[in-house]
Amino acid sequence: MIRKTLIAAATLATLATGAFAQDKLRIGVEGAYPPFSFKQADGSLAGFDIDIAMALCVEMKRDCELVEQDWDGMIPALKAKKFDAIVASMSITEERKRQIDFSAKYYKTPARVVAKKDSGLEGTATGLAGKRLGVQRGSTHQCYAEKMFPEAEIVLYGTQEEVFSDLALGRIDAQLSDSLISQESFLSKPEGADFAFLAGDHTDVDCYGEGVGIAVRQGEEELRDAFSAAITAIRDNGTYKTVNDKYFPFDIYGGRPDGM
């Protein structure tokens, strides 16, 4: 954006007021992925992603505006300049890196398979062979499921909520998703009472990459680096911990949550 702005300013010095670069930073968020981002009754957004985005804006001393966007259109909207960055629990992957750039990670939790407690299933390629395994469409989990469980019948859903609903209804045998999400949105709820994690953390770098980062358009190194620096800064000054502790009983930045 900066470079294009400069070109525009050079070609049309009279029209380009130079205000472009100082514009509000627009951040794309999802609003349907509790506890990372969700909508409150008055329509306002809340959650870990939202608070982190705001904390980073304060750290970078930028004026920010949150833009709600459905997950399916998230990357197209970023590329179409509907907003300048995505803070929506988007994992850093090689596949996505071909289209967009990422800051350093701002958290990383392992993925785990969830099934009925008495299912006797094992979270391995042979253990899930022929079983119906649910994942969210277009997610890192789909990539991993297709790679690691080629013999399983992979069932795709638009949202993680639908995956949980169908698991509870018995339409699928197991589901693969982020351990934290499974814990918070399913296992700790009444409908998830009969379900448990299968053994094994899944952290494959090819699919899950380096963790969850903030996405920006390619060629915007300055903004990307500003986000990375701000993440380090809020880790150091305690802001991250304040936000983290508001939502989670453990630090989700690096390792895996205790007792899961």
């Binding site: 049309l12 609003g31 509790p34 833009v67 459905d70 197209p76 909207a77 590329k79 179409a80």
Partner: protein, 229 residues
């Protein structure tokens, strides 16, 4: 139920967007439908070919694909034009305008066929009679074509409208916060997806029931002087 009451402002805002979007797109599609029907029945070969291409193309492509294409593709094209000419860095394509326009264009194709069929249903002799007693073209349209066309078109019109009303739900992919988007977001945020989907179901049913009443009143009005078969 408590959740629904808590999130009522969200549901209401979504309902308003849905109704506004449906009405705005209805306006576009009826206008396009009238133009399309006129073109298809016109003696002008180019007009017939253009209208034919329009209805074939639009009716043959999934609605969702068209919406994504207009919204994201349109934005990228606009950005590219801006970058090439240096005139702007970013121009916002309004989600509402993009949604209303796309749905309007899609249903304009269906309305074209509805109106064409209705005009064809008017006995040719009546028009010839009108011409023979020296009616001007506008008068012929107002007195003979329009009242009967509306009567013949109403059942198809009602059909199109009900489908159109529900098609507005597709705009949630472009981030427009219609009833479905807001109900989904609320449902996912509160882990009560079913409750909110059920609420959306009832609200849509209410809207279609209302539409039905309106359509029936219109049918009565335009069937005056005609015996029910």
């Amino acid at each position: 139920m408590d959740l629904l009451i808590e999130y009522r402002s969200q549901l209401w805002a979504g309902l308003v967007t849905t109704v506004q979007l449906a009405l705005a797109s209805l306006f576009f599609s009826v206008a396009l439908g009238l133009i399309g029907a006129w073109a298809k029945l016109s003696a002008n070969r180019t007009a017939r070919a253009l209208a034919g291409a329009y209805t074939t193309l639009v009716r043959g492509v999934p609605d969702l694909v068209l919406i994504m294409l207009v919204f994201f593709g349109g934005q990228v094209t606009l950005n590219a034009i801006g970058a090439a000419t240096g005139l702007w860095d970013y121009l916002e394509v309004s989600q509402f305008a993009a949604g209303a326009l796309t749905i309007g264009v899609i249903f304009g194709a269906y309305f074209t066929e509805t109106f064409r069929g209705a005009i064809l249903a008017i006995p040719r002799g009546q028009i010839e009679a009108g011409i023979s007693i020296g009616m001007s073209r506008p008068l012929l349209f107002r007195r003979i074509v329009w009242p009967q066309m509306v009567r013949y078109a109403l059942p198809g019109f009602g059909n199109n409208w009900l489908v159109q009303l529900k098609t507005t739900a597709l705009v949630s992919v472009i981030g427009l916060q219609d009833l479905v988007y807001n109900a989904f977001a609320a449902g996912r945020s509160t882990d009560a997806l079913f409750t909110f989907m059920a609420a959306a179901f009832v609200i849509y049913l209410g809207l279609t029931a209302l539409s039905d009443l309106g359509l029936r009143a219109l049918e009565r009005r335009y069937s005056r002087g005609v015996q029910r078969a």
